[in-house]
């Protein structure tokens, strides 16, 4: 029914959207469920997609809307969300490994605590590998606004590390 070009558009974006869903929902089952719903929604509503806009921009809007709805629904059901765990390979210097592990956990917490808008932009930037321009298009915001939010997110990360005196890790590693 739909052309192979359409198929490749879906496939090309699947991983990036899955990563986004996983980071926002923090649960594999939910991420898979949500991503599948997003693809299904987009597929069924291709007719309403206006081709003057970029397909991926449209798809990300559906994705973000859906992920937020999903997470709201989950909150209503008061479903528990398990934290994602990081597995670290046992290679190299154990002291360094524990130290890195600690930093990553800390960073994970900071990202988790970012205000929703900043977190969203952070994740779109790092987990979906999007440019500021693209993020601005998706969120229908000015590039400057998106960059400011990103700046505040990074600043928050930096300040949190500074407060804990963890900023000199470059030298310790």
């Amino acid at each position: 029914m739909k052309s192979p070009e359409i198929n490749s558009l879906f496939e090309k974006n699947y991983k990036k959207i899955f990563r986004l869903a996983l980071k926002m929902l923090k649960n594999y089952e939910d991420a898979e469920d949500a991503t599948q719903n997003i693809m299904q929604l987009a597929y069924e509503n291709l007719d309403s997609f206006r081709w003057e806009a970029k397909f991926s921009t449209w798809l990300y809007r559906i994705a973000l809307n859906h992920i937020y709805s999903y997470s709201n629904k989950r909150k209503k059901q008061q479903k528990n969300v398990s934290k994602l765990n990081y597995s670290f390979p046992d290679s190299g210097n154990p002291e360094k490994r524990i130290y890195t592990e600690e930093l990553f956990k800390k960073l994970d917490e900071i990202i988790e605590d970012l205000p929703p808008k900043q977190k969203e932009i952070f994740l779109l930037r790092y987990y979906s590998n999007l440019t500021f321009k693209k993020i601005a298009k998706i969120l229908q915001k000015k590039v400057g606004t998106v960059k400011s939010s990103y700046f505040f997110a990074m600043k928050k990360i930096k300040e949190s590390f500074k407060k804990k005196d963890l900023l000199d890790f470059e030298e310790q590693l």
Binding site: N7, Y14, E44, F49, S69, K73, F104, F151, F169
Partner: protein
């Protein structure tokens, strides 16, 4: 040259600066200990973030995606299945959708700054001046409201498309912000109750 602002250092690490500017920055760093310190801090943060994200992505087990997993809607069931998906999708997002519908139907309430408990239902109202207000309602009222709003959305093709194309995103952002700061006054709740009762009886 003046000292380098944090924002510009961030641009530097995001490769958003032109060559000339980068050279100027490098030159300034050579001669300014304070900025060198700042630079080192940002560098540490960006490299940690990059490493973390890389590791995080590596650890993710992403299931394979297959187009054939997507259900094609046959003519017979077309209406039914898109309806149920629509319903599933819009229902949790009701606070977002409510903005537009309610701007036609409801009165608007003044906002008050304070904290809200996070596990309640909220109703978001927006008036013609794009002033947004978040209102707390109990679950029974919200169920009535949802039903009324959903019916309106289902019956309106244009609205459905708007919801899908993400035109409610901006409202959502405002809601997220407002939720933290707004609390309803008793008089607002009374007004809301009145409106909800009107809705129930109509």
């Amino acid at each position: 040259m003046k000292c380098i602002k944090d924002k510009e250092l961030m641009d530097y690490f995001n490769d958003e600066l032109n060559k000339t500017r980068k050279k100027e920055i490098a030159a300034h760093l050579d001669g300014c200990k304070k900025c060198r310190e700042k630079f080192r801090e940002w560098q540490a943060i960006f490299s940690l973030t990059k490493d973390y994200v890389e590791k995080d992505k590596e650890d993710m087990q992403i299931p394979d995606f297959n187009m054939s997993k997507l259900k094609t809607i046959s003519d017979e069931t077309a209406e039914d299945s898109s309806f149920s998906l629509m319903r599933y999708w819009i229902k949790p997002a009701i606070a977002v959708a409510a903005v537009v519908i309610l701007s036609l139907t409801f009165l608007f309430f003044p906002a008050k700054k304070d904290n809200l408990p996070s596990n309640d239902n909220f109703l978001v109202l927006q008036d013609d001046f794009m002033e947004t207000t978040v209102t707390q309602v109990d679950s029974i009222n919200i169920a009535y409201l949802e039903e009324a709003l959903l019916q309106e959305i289902y019956s309106d093709d244009e609205l459905r498309k708007q919801v899908l194309s993400g035109e409610f995103r901006d409202y959502y952002d405002i809601i997220m912000d407002d939720m933290r700061y707004n609390e309803l006054e008793d008089s607002d709740l009374e007004l809301l109750e009145k409106e909800l009762n009107k809705l129930k009886t109509s």
